[in-house]
Each structure stands twice: as structure tokens, then as C-alpha cells.
Symmetry: C2
Subunit: 378 residues, 2 copies
Amino acid sequence: MIQYFDNCATTQVDPEVLQILNKYHTETFFNPSARSTFSLKIANDISVAREKLLKLLGGNGELVFTSGGTESDNLGILGCIRKKSGNIVVTASEHSAVFNTVTSLANKGYEIRQTKVNSDGSIDIDDFVAHVDNDTLLACFMHVNNETGAINDIKRINTLVKNINPNTVTFCDGVQAVGKIPVNLNYLGVDLYTFSSHKFHCTKGAGALYIKKGVRVNPQVLGGGQEKGIRSGTEYVGAIVAMAKAVEIANSLLSDNGYIFNNYKNIIRNALADIPNFKENCVENCSPSIMSLAFADIKGEVLLHMLEQYDIVVGTGSACSSKNKQSRIAKAIGLTPNYSEGVIRISFSKFNTLDQVKNLAEKLAFCVKSLRKTMLGK
Amino acid sequence: MIQYFDNCATTQVDPEVLQILNKYHTETFFNPSARSTFSLKIANDISVAREKLLKLLGGNGELVFTSGGTESDNLGILGCIRKKSGNIVVTASEHSAVFNTVTSLANKGYEIRQTKVNSDGSIDIDDFVAHVDNDTLLACFMHVNNETGAINDIKRINTLVKNINPNTVTFCDGVQAVGKIPVNLNYLGVDLYTFSSHKFHCTKGAGALYIKKGVRVNPQVLGGGQEKGIRSGTEYVGAIVAMAKAVEIANSLLSDNGYIFNNYKNIIRNALADIPNFKENCVENCSPSIMSLAFADIKGEVLLHMLEQYDIVVGTGSACSSKNKQSRIAKAIGLTPNYSEGVIRISFSKFNTLDQVKNLAEKLAFCVKSLRKTMLGK
């Protein structure tokens, strides 16, 4: 049986969530835009799920359902910009769905200002804020860094940005936060916030963009006018209802999992105690579910494949950028070349057991030692 | 038990297709972009499904997976336009996902040329072609009209357009065609073709854009560079693999269903034989699965709700535009006001039984007579 520790990349669907998905595939499969009473009920299911999610996430505004995190990021970023010129501030550690969307705006005449991150992947807040001015249309940052797990102080960043320019739209990528750490959108104060359902034991193909009350987002996909015209296309009703259930379940486990996953991290730390020249990329203010390790003089990918021999799955950097040779984030956090290629990312879920973690810890230590021995032998 | 005759709006997921979806939710749920061997296998599953779909649909080019028909339409239309000015030819009967996307380009300085449709909803080919000239960037038409069921001669339209201007990109909305009538993309010859999985017993939240070899489409959603960079975002792998299976199943039933559904239509026609003042909107060259009826002096919506009392679900016009007061298509096909509000759309699937159809026919005749009696009594 596979021991899966790449829950940042994607997760297994929860059985209770699956039941909801299946109900909407085979029983209440109606099109919410049709005229029948059955369809009206389905449309109401969407409204109920929307309200439930807003309540679970403490939001006061709109939730627009999309096909996932990437579409949500694109919709929020491209949809909020109305002025013909100005600058956009973005951290160097953003996920490519945010980073590439923002940098593409350079071709349309906008000035893109990239800001520094700290060595643990967290945002260098002083540097970020120093880039914001009267012409800043949009400020983009992320709640939890998807490669290191660093949790950013979003409330503080948002307040500082708004103090400088209240008209700057603040955008926060919450893809690795929702269902993994407590999220209260009113408290955070951001204008836009995104998440993706397959990161918290729900299906792929669904996600949402939160739009704070009073903030305007122009649609990027036109058609039947679903989602109040902001995102056309037949709603994936099952996924929407399932998403609300998945967040409810995830939130109910947050504090327990925080404790359990931190214990998992300690088990791994202990197993690696006698291994020299490695770095845990983020320790303080880190998401309990993410553990990013950089081993000097080892290729992360080789380590990953070696662990696979024991049916253990871990990640390297972001799944979405893992096809690129070197991680943009590894570079941004200042890893030296001998470390930057030796990064693996372990990310936990509720489906991981203590035995699995003990086994991972043991095999990881063994593989690192073996690989280094092999290299010395060369 | 509900007797569902609104299979143009959406369909129930096939049990065999559901099994595939569930396998990818709970067993092979890996992220295809991650580095593990398990992920590579999943990425390969996508390639296999892509090739299978291209073969099933006789296409020679790329298939880009998206979140559905609407996104596919938007991607194809917005992604193929590169010149700063020119005209776009579109029929008046297009689905709102095509129509609204095209007409939105008027704001960007493009000239939008709307063309006529015949009384059965089919494209007036002479009128369409007369609007194409040297400055036509894009010609948009649909394979099967979603409200009347009219099948258009796509090969002929495409050839005529290309004869006038070989540089015009030809776009065809195939949402009501794939899985419902035979589709051979090479034969049709179009540059772009779209479809949506939930129309043929697969899940909502998935679809595709076919791009003929040599045609270029610019991405509308940026990020991790999935789908060769044309559509970023974690692929909904289960839906992609399931879609290929769903088209395979649907195609294997096409000729049988063609016969069966035409028989269903005859049963309904016979039951309505003694009812005056109604029109079957499309008879010749009509999709076997669609039967559009316009009853004079009756409100289609009232009829729909009356049928619901017998657990029978039918549609009015397009689900996606059904919230609008009057159907754009009813107007386009020239229905007079007393008929245009009395349209219902019956659309069959393989899950409909002969008994269900007999029951529908009987109840439909009864309801129409009752409603007219009530009206006369007023």
C-alpha cells in the first residue's frame, strides 16, 4: 500500500465527500440553470454551500466558484485591474498561477515589482511594503508558502498595504491554507482570496475566489451568466456542495492535526538527528502539514525515487513547477546550489498513520545515508 | 422516480464512467505534474485518454482539456484572435457561451457580424457565407443547435468560409453533438471544436477544445503550464479519463439510439396528433435526441411545471439562458410571440425507457389540452 506524503500536491478524496459527489452525479444531477423545481433545488444547494463556506472561512462578501486554484488566481488578478497603467507588487515566492499571471501583465504596460522572501520562504514584509505606493493597483501575496510551509502574517501585510494605498487591491493565495490552518477572511482583511478543493480531500476541478464586499471583479469567462455573471459555465454542483463539507471536516480536525503533524515532524527530525548538512527550510510559523528539507549534495529527485521503492511518495517543490529544472522558490529563499537541488517536501494528511511516519523517517534517514555513501564511493 | 427528459441541459453520470471517476478520487489520485512514478503514470493516463478521444472523434491536432464547454468556447474564441482589427461572423442562434464571448469583442474594436438562421434553427448558410470577407478573423457556428436540435452542414460551411478566406479561423461549438451524433473532426475540417463532458453521461466540470494541426491558440489561464501551456491548472485527471470512456460508450450506441429516439419522437407526435396550433421546431436534419415543440397560447414554463407533477422533467430553451425572459433563439427562428413563449424541449438519453416516453407523450397531450381548456374558461 502506498504511503502518501505529497498532500500539498493533491489529496485523496474523503469518503464522506465522495458520497456527496456521487449523489450529484447519479441522483440530483440536474442543471442548476434549468427551469424545473428539481433544478431550483440544486441551485439552492449551491447557495447553501456558498453561505456555509463563507461562514466556515469567516468571510463577508462573495464566493465565486471556479474550476480550481489556478483559475481563481487568474480571475482575481486579471479581473480586478481596471486602470490602464500602474504597478503590481508580487513576492518572488508566489505559486506560478499567481506569479505567471502577474508577470504576463508586464506585456500590457504594467510595472511588475518583485519583492524578497526570507530564508524560510516567508515574505520579507518590510521589503514588500516598501514597494507599495500611490500607483500600486494590486498587491499579491500568499497565506502559506507551498514549498516551505511558511505562514505569512496576512493581516499585518494587508493593513500595511492599505495604510499606504487604500485603493490597492490585496490578493492572497490561500490554496495551501484552507483546510490546513485556521482561516478567517474578515480577520485577514484581504480583498481577494483563493482556494482549491483538491488540496483538502475534495475533487480536482473545483475551487473558489473570495471577493470582499465592495470589491469588483470583472468576469474572465463569458456565457450563461452563472455565478452572478462573474464566472459563466454550468456549475459543478456536486463539487461545490462537497467542498463545503470538506472544509467543514478539515476545520473540525485542524487543532488535532496541528498537534499530530507536529509530532510527525519531530519523529522525522529525530530520525535525521545524526545526519549532517541538511536544513529544515521552515521551522517557526510553519504549516503543520508541510516539512521542507534540503539535503546538501543530494538530488531531491533521486531521493524521491529511492523512497518510491518502499512505496513512499514525497514531493520535491511545487508539483506545478516541478517540471522546471530549478525551483524558483529554492532560489528565492537563498539556498546555495549544493542544497537547492536536494529539496524534498513532505506533506501530511489525516490519512497518514503514525506507523507510516515512523517508516518514512527510518527510510528517509537510510536513503540519505546510502546516497551520500554512494557519492563518496564515486 | 423522476423521468428525466432534459438531457441537453445535463445528463446523469454513467455507472461505468462513475467507476473511473471514483478510482481517480480514491486510488490513483496523484497530481500528474508531480515527480513520482505514480504521477508519471497518471500523466500518461491523460495522454492515452487524449489520443483515444482524438481517435474517437477523428481529429488530427491537439485536444486541450478545460473545465467545460463554456471555458472551451472562451479559450478557442479569445485565444485565436491576434490581429488588432477585423470582423467576426457569428450566427444568431449560438449558445450564450459563444455568442456573449464573441459580442464582447465589439468593445475591443472588432466588428461583429450576426447572421440569420432558418425557421428550424439551422444556419442560413448563404447568409453566413455572404458575411465572410478578407477581414474575417473568425467564423463561429454550431454543430447541433441546443434549442431546436438542428444539425448544421459543418463541412459545407467550413469549406465555403475557407474558400473565401483561408486565413479565417473556423470555430464550431460541438457541445450538443459529441456523443449524440457522429462526429469526425477531420471530415468537418474546422479549426476549433468544443465539447462538454456532462452532456454525455460524464461529470460536470470538464470539457475540451480541439485545435486542428497548425492552428494557434493563446492561453487564457496562466500558471503551471499544464496542457502544453495552453491551459494551466491541475488536470482533473479522473474526468479526462472518464470522458474518453463516456465518448466511447456514447459512440457505440449512436446508431441504435438514433433509431430508438426517432421512434420516441413518433410516439410523442402520435399522442399530439389531435392537438391544433403547435409546431415541431425542427424535423428534418434534427438530432435524434432533441425534440423542440412550440405550443401556441401556452406558456412553456407552466407546461413544464405541470409535467413535474408527474415527476416528468423537460426543458424550456437552453438551460444556460433559461433565466432570460425570452429565448434569443426562439426569436432568431422567427417564432411569433404566441408560439415563442410556448416552447418546451424534450431531450432523450439512453436511460429513458419506452414506458417513460409513452407516459410523457400521454401526459404532455393531457397537459396541453388542460391548459388550453383552462385558458378558454377564463
